[in-house]
Structure formats: structure tokens, C-alpha cells
Symmetry: C2
Subunit: 190 residues, 2 copies
């Protein structure tokens, strides 16, 4: 990789996949990047289930859409689905989260999912992080204990095309400020 | 950078900083990595405030600890604090989050914070993501509108030492499974 920013630009939410299978060695490197992610109080409140058995994968994919909500239907095409399981945070992080009204474990999960997706991009693989699916069904299909949540599903596979779409984002002027909300500082060399 | 995994290994939660100031050009690249992060329905529910004015920075640092809870006191040492402001998600993500009992915007925030921290690591800078601080005070100090949250503070600066501590993480055998919760698959070449 040339630079991290180039990798960030290369990663996009891939919703069209080729049928090409994904080697588990590559999946393992994506998992390793997620495993090494930081978390509040090093709680590591996550586990990842790789679903690459075709029949099982189809079952899981079918939990992500319905006749009414069909925007995740593309998940049927992805050769691999990775289900992120969320554990309760450890006690210190839980107490802290309660006192500060923050669910730290969702922030932690986002960090790990980002690591996974960026490593996938480096492997030439596409991902899309899905939050909309029937959690109860996913838990049943994969035997996830009732105390744990199926929190995210990451689709994984080779993109159908090598073309990277342009990112639509807010401009920096409304995204970042210096020393006060709403104030864009001058860019002084430090 | 050699590989993304090497960058992941290089990033650690830095709690000792040298006094060396950080050029805004470097901070801008960290912000750019965060700006390009994905989010549910592309809501981009975040804004970042860079606090590098020494007096203001000290004020913000003082909101992160108390006589009773002092583990964030090191934030006084960091030359820069970056406050992540959380907006409500857009309506589609909100309805989805409500129906699925998930606060997508916290997941989104984690992804953006991960992008920021990894770019910082590439720049030779250290970060630590803090969730424990007096949010009300931070909002007052920086003029953050009452409808928005000060959700995370990221400390930023040059690490005091070049030594990278070993990461303590759960082993892969309890972290990732294949096709069923609790089941470690064989690593077959795909």
C-alpha cells in the first residue's frame, strides 16, 4: 500500500460482487486486523463468525431483507458474510458507559469493523457493513447464545468491477473546526 | 507503509506524550481519513473540533479526570485534543436504529475514530480515544450546540518513546468462528 489515505479512498461499500470465492487465508488477515483493534478498557466486547458455507450463507443473507425493505438484497451475491457478535462490555466500561450515557461497546464494534473493512480493501476485497437484519433469526441460524447480540453483518467478496465510485461527503469546512464549534481555523504550519 | 496490518500493530493507545507540537497539516490528514469514513445511510453524523490552543486545551483536558477517576489525567500532556461531536443520525438511519434497537451513530463514530487514529499512527503520532469526561463542560468550553453531543475525545501528539508495547488480546480461537458460534473451522485454502 502506498499510504493509509489511499487505502481509505480505495475502500467503498461494495454492493455488487463477482462469484469468485475468497480464500480463508485472506479472511484470517481481515480478522486479525479486527482482533488487534482497541476497545474501551481493552474489553474486546466482540466475536466474529465467518459464514462461508453456501447454504448457511444464503440463510443468513435472507435475514437482511424483506419485500418491504429490500436495500440489502445484494447480500445474497456476496460469497461470504461475517457476523459480528457483541458481548456486554466489561464491568468498568459498563459502569463508565452508564454514568456517561454512552454504549462504549458500539463504538468499539465500529472500530473493529473499520479495521476489518480496511484490511479487506488491502486484500482487493469489497465489504459492506449492514446493521439492518433480523437479529433473532441470525442468532438461531448460527447458534449464538441468547446473552449476546448479532450486531452487524459484513458482506465480503471480490467486487464485480474495479471502478471505485467517488465518495460523497460533507466538505471539510462543515466537518472540522478549530478551538471552537463552527470556527474554521487558518492552516498554520505547526 | 509496508502493509495495513503493520500499521494496525504500530497503533497503540498512547498515554505518554513528548512536548513536541503537531503541525496542522498532519492533523488535517487525520481529519481527512475520518471525513472519508463510511456511515449508515451515509449520514456522516459527526464533526470534529481540534483543540490546539494551549489554554483551551488545558481546560478541556481537565474535564477528563477528577480526584476519584484519574486514569485520563495524562490528557494534560497531549499537545492536541480532538473532540468528536455526534449529531443525530439522519431519519432513515434513526428509524432503522430504533426498529433494530441499535444506535448506528455510535458505530459510525467508532469507524471514523479508527480512521483518525490509524492515519495518526502513519504520521508517527500517538492517539488515545477517551469516552470518560464531563460532556456538559466540554460543550460549554467549545460552544457546542445543545442538540449535539461531545461523544469522544481523542488525545493526539508525539509519543514520548518509540517503543511499541505488546498488544494483549484474546486468542483467535475464542475471537472468531466459522459457520457456527463456538466452532473453529479448519483453514482450508479457498
Amino acid at each position: 500500500m502506498v499510504s493509509f489515505l489511499e487505502l481509505v479512498k480505495k475502500r467503498y461499500s461494495v454492493r455488487r460482487y463477482s462469484g469468485r470465492p475468497v480464500a480463508r487465508e485472506k479472511i484470517e488477515r481481515c480478522l486479525e486486523a479486527a482482533r488487534l483493534a482497541p476497545s474501551a478498557c481493552n474489553a474486546q466486547p466482540w466475536q466474529f463468525i465467518v459464514v462461508d458455507d453456501p447454504g448457511l450463507k444464503e440463510e443468513v443473507a435472507k435475514t437482511t431483507f424483506s419485500p418491504l425493505v429490500s436495500f440489502n438484497k445484494f447480500s445474497l451475491q456476496a460469497p461470504v458474510l461475517v457476523v459480528a457478535v457483541l458481548e456486554k462490555s466489561n464491568l468498568i466500561a459498563q459502569v463508565g458507559g452508564f454514568l456517561r450515557k454512552k454504549e462504549f461497546n458500539l463504538v468499539d464494534l465500529g472500530i473493529a469493523a473499520a479495521h476489518f473493512s480496511l484490511q479487506a480493501a488491502e486484500e482487493g476485497l469489497g465489504t459492506c457493513i449492514l446493521g439492518w437484519f433480523d437479529e433473532k433469526k441470525v442468532r438461531e441460524i448460527l447458534g449464538i447464545p441468547s446473552g449476546k447480540r448479532a450486531a452487524l453483518i459484513i458482506t465480503l467478496g471480490y467486487p464485480e468491477t474495479g471502478e471505485i465510485p467517488e465518495k460523497k461527503r460533507k466538505p471539510p469546512s462543515v466537518f472540522r473546526f478549530y478551538n471552537r464549534y463552527g470556527k474554521n481555523g487558518e492552516l498554520l504550519p505547526g
